[in-house]
């Protein structure tokens, strides 16, 4: 067995074929985006450093590194930079790329001489870190960077080397992979933390007899607290107090060795690695802090004479070293677990997928894994089953619970020709669908990608934290040295001890972690929660913009209204001069007659009538002798009866007495409904009112938006009269009518010029320019067509109330981010001076390094926990 080093990438890198690679620009552009894991980052300074090392590469346009997900997303010019360059840049910065291993069964590995060429061929694939073949087991183990290389590319490399891959290489499920990595990290931290904690408790006890002998004595808050314990212990374990102090010191030294050399080793290794690359982070602070305490104690143990000669007590701080390491490891453990929960939304989304599908192959129904369904396959879906892929119903009918897509719990009726979405839940009926989108193209896969991208993105508000984090650690080290000098020069005797304690305490209490986690954890939880609530947010910038809106523009057709005309009123004659809403029987009769005629018409209003009849499941009689009268109506023969459908003027012209409907026609017209009359054999049968009805949810949504302090404006291409009627019914007081798409953009520009931050809500097709021009474009898409490109926020439910949820969620997330940043800054601004001993001249109190480590561990856990509160975000409208 041997391993082969990755090779520098040659001319044609494979990034464009990588699984995470998507064209970042328009189709055919030379810009691609790749995402891959980064290992070894602990704080905001690391993020800045990795990001800089990536953007410094020629050909990299943008790099985005996320501490919460431990992932880097890089936008690069196709062909200018390869995976090998990215890996090298990360390693140059003192970090590493996260890697995955795959075990591949290879046929044809017969001779010892086969091994090296095969390994070399696979290791040469860009994105592969190592390849080692095992001839005894006929396997090849490949270590690769997920996101930088595809499985088919690896299979091709094996084939090109002259071998056969026995089975397709299975890539680890990204969610499962992350869960495994997370649990590995938790286990590792727990083991190290347990050892450190065990040593810490023993050291505490064993160092009790040494306390109060000298040093900082009663000024140390911790010593004051443990004083009663000290006396109790002296009574309980008198033999411990009988051990000579020097022997106790040796015992403590031995006890601390495993803590420093094993439990805390990652801190020192990372601190050293960072130091060599002129980068300082969290590990530097911990390493220098505990290292200084350890060195001081070791010297005091083995060369106490030097201290005594200088008039200093030979104090030891072994218990502080162990306790600090233990507390920080516990903090990291809690943080790792909490960070795992911040990304749980993706896991839940992917958990919605159906595992298997029943596909017709050669006329026989066979069960196959859902991933193997092909476009064009006919898939049978039984009651209670998940729909495995996106498709069109070809036979049968049912109601499907689409709440995963829209947040709307009421099942939606599906019949032949209707689209169904994968991962939605079939309720009562059975149907057969023809697969139209599978695998990465399904709506669910799109949603997951969108949420993943959003969770990995950064908000502009993070820039402040990044700027601080970039200089944080060197500044803190300087403050610690300054504290040392001041204590040494002006402090009470023994000044060297006081100086060392405050030096260590300042290093330990300072915490750039909280600063680094403040924004990304909140964005992860916020966008994840949004996805569960039918609000798909494109990223941190969109979230931030949505939290600061002044004006929200609502497109009328399709956003406030349903977007297609419907029969809103149906009246039947009641005596010679009055009309009343039709009874169900009358309704069926009127609609059947009208639809039988209109079925042959091409007028858009005719479609609304036919649709209404179809939804009621009415049998339509056959019409003959159809005649359309342009812009006025139509006539036809139904059996022996002559039927006329059309405007009031048309029927009057035909000699029909429309007496019962005269008033109703006027009322409907005043309400912006289009009246359509039906007459049979010259007698009036009924009156239909047609309109593009306002969605029932729009009124409440507009009210909520206004209550949130937003200015609401209705924009529409429709005429002013209709726009005002719709605005009046929904409670909107400003209207911009007669707008072409370019006109909507001008309205937005005008508002923006007046200093307002504008959101545009539209259905994403003709509104695309306006969506792009607005500060926040919100695409509202009924059904499955997610207009991801132009919009910052997508609301698949097509319900305006989701826009309210989006704004509420954005505000809640930004509030959380501000709280986190405030806490992280305030913690350091207050904690560091106290640790330096600022309170000593006034209160005679100096913080113990042990306290400092507890405070530090708590500060980053507090930030992550605060972000997790967003998981309980409850919108006004439970859509």
């Amino acid at each position: 067995m041997s391993a082969v080093e990755p090779r520098a990438v040659d001319g044609a890198p494979d990034v464009d074929a990588a699984p995470g690679a998507v064209p970042a620009g328009p189709r055919g552009s030379a810009v691609v985006k790749v995402a891959f894991p980064v290992a070894g980052m602990t704080c905001a300074a690391c993020v800045t450093r990795v990001q800089r090392s990536l953007t410094d590469l020629p050909g990299v346009l943008d790099a985005n590194v996320n501490l919460a997900t431990n992932r880097a997303t890089v936008e690069l010019e196709r062909g200018a930079v390869g995976p090998g360059d990215l890996v090298a840049a990360i390693r140059d910065a003192g970090y590493d790329v996260g890697s995955e291993s795959a075990q591949v069964a290879v046929e044809g590995l017969r001779f010892a001489g086969d091994v090296a060429p095969l390994e070399a061929a696979v290791a040469a694939v860009p994105g592969v870190l190592a390849a080692s073949a095992n001839r005894a087991a006929d396997t090849l183990r490949i270590t690769y960077v997920p996101g930088l290389v595809t499985m088919p590319r690896l299979e091709r490399a094996v084939a090109e080397a002259g071998f056969v891959v026995a089975a397709p290489i299975a890539e680890a499920d990204p969610v499962e992979r992350e869960r495994l990595a997370r649990s590995r990290e938790v286990r590792r931290l727990a083991a190290r933390g347990a050892v450190a904690a065990f040593a810490a408790v023993l050291s505490m006890v064993a160092s009790m007899p040494l306390m109060g002998v000298g040093g900082t004595g009663t000024a140390d808050l911790l010593v004051r607290l443990v004083m009663p314990l000290h006396h109790a212990l002296a009574r309980a374990l008198p033999w411990l107090y009988a051990v000579p102090p020097q022997q106790l010191k040796f015992a403590l030294f031995a006890l601390t060795l495993p803590v420093v050399f094993w439990a805390g080793a990652p801190f020192y290794v990372a601190a050293w690695r960072g130091f060599r690359h002129r980068s300082a982070d969290m590990n530097t602070l911990i390493g220098v802090g505990t290292g200084a305490a350890m060195l001081y104690s070791t010297a005091a143990t083995f060369a106490p004479g030097v201290f005594e000669a200088a008039g200093l007590p030979a104090d030891v701080y072994y218990e502080a070293v162990s306790t600090i390491v233990a507390l920080i490891l516990v903090g990291r453990l809690l943080e790792a677990r909490a960070k795992g929960r911040t990304s749980s939304a993706i896991g839940r989304l992917l958990g919605l997928r159906a595992r298997t599908a029943r596909v017709y192959r050669d006329g026989i129904e066979v069960e196959v894994p859902a991933a193997e369904v092909q476009v064009g396959d006919f898939v049978s879906v039984r009651p209670g089953e998940k729909v495995p892929v996106d498709g069109v119903v070809r036979s049968g009918k049912s109601a499907v619970d689409e709440s995963m897509l829209t947040g709307e719990p009421t099942p939606v009726a599906k019949k032949e020709g209707d689209e169904v979405t994968g991962a939605t839940l079939n309720t009562t009926g059975a149907f057969v669908l023809e697969a139209t989108r599978v695998g990465r193209d399904t709506v669910l896969a799109q949603i997951v990608r969108l949420v993943e991208d959003a969770q990995g993105s950064r908000a502009p508000v993070q820039r402040l934290a990044d700027r601080i984090a970039g200089v944080f650690v060197p500044v803190v080290i300087s403050v610690a040295i300054l504290a040392f000098i001041i204590w040494f020069d002006f402090g009470p005797e023994p000044a060297a001890v006081w100086a060392t304690v405050s030096f260590v305490t300042v290093l330990i209490i300072a915490c750039p972690c909280a600063l680094g986690l403040a924004t990304p954890t909140a964005i992860m939880v916020g966008t994840g929660r949004g996805a569960e609530r039918g609000v798909l947010i494109k990223g941190g910038a969109a979230l931030e913009a949505a939290s600061r809106l002044d004006v929200i523009l609502l497109d009328k057709t399709g956003t406030v209204t349903e977007g297609k005309p419907r029969v809103t009123d149906l009246l039947a004659p009641h005596g010679p001069s009055a009309a009343l809403p039709a009874t169900p029987e009358e309704r069926a009769e009127i609609l059947a007659v009208a639809a039988a005629v209109e079925r042959l018409s091409e007028h858009p209003l005719a479609g609304a009538i036919v649709r209404e009849a179809a939804e009621l499941g009415l049998e339509l009689p056959d019409a003959a002798d159809f005649e359309a009268h342009e812009g006025r109506g139509a006539t036809a023969l139904l059996g022996a009866h002559r039927v006329a459908v059309g405007s009031a003027a048309f029927l009057i012209q035909l000699g029909v007495d429309i007496g019962p409907f005269i008033d109703a026609v006027d009322t409907l017209a005043a309400r912006e409904r289009t009246p359509v009359l039906i007459a049979v054999d010259g007698l009036p049968l009924g009156l239909l009112g047609l309109a593009d009805p306002i969605k029932p949810s729009s009124v409440g949504a507009v009210r909520a938006l206004r209550r949130m302090g937003l200015e609401v404006i209705l924009v529409t291409g429709d005429v002013r009269k209709v726009a005002i009627a719709v605005a009046g019914e929904t409670g909107i007081d400003q209207v911009e009518s007669g707008m072409l798409p370019a006109g909507k953009v001008q309205v937005i520009k005008r508002l923006q010029a007046a200093g307002k931050r504008v959101a545009m809500v539209g259905d994403g097709i003709n509104d695309a320019p306006a969506l792009a021009a607005a500060d926040v474009g919100i695409a509202i898409g009924t059904g499955t067509d997610i207009a991801v490109e132009a919009a910052d926020i997508t609301l698949p439910a097509g319900d305006l109330r989701a826009a309210v949820t989006a704004v509420e969620l954005a505000r809640a997330t930004m509030r959380t981010i501000r709280q986190n940043l405030f806490w992280a800054l305030a913690y350091n601004v207050v904690g560091i001076p106290i640790a330096a001993g600022l309170l000593y001249p006034f209160a005679g109190v100096l913080l113990s390094p042990v306290f400092a480590s507890a405070a530090m561990a708590f500060s980053s856990v507090a930030v992550v926990t605060n972000s997790l509160r967003l998981r309980r975000f409850a919108p006004t409208f439970a859509t």
Binding site: A39, G40, D56, A88, R91, D92, G94, D96, G98, P266, V269, A270, R273, R276, H277, R278, S279, A280, V471, V473, P474, V475, I477, S478, I481, L482, F484, I485, F488, D489
Partner: protein, 39 residues
């Protein structure tokens, strides 16, 4: 003791200057590559 204080003060400020220079002044490229393997 005054000598010790003088030495600590001078060395301390020199250390501060060095720390700020070492970590904050951008390093030239071509720094040594770290060994293989993660934390």
């Amino acid at each position: 003791m005054h000598v010790a204080q003088f030495v600590v003060t001078v060395a301390g400020f020199a250390a501060i200057g060095w720390v700020l220079w070492y970590f904050l002044v951008p390093a030239g490229r071509g720094a040594p590559r770290p060994p293989e393997g993660g934390v």
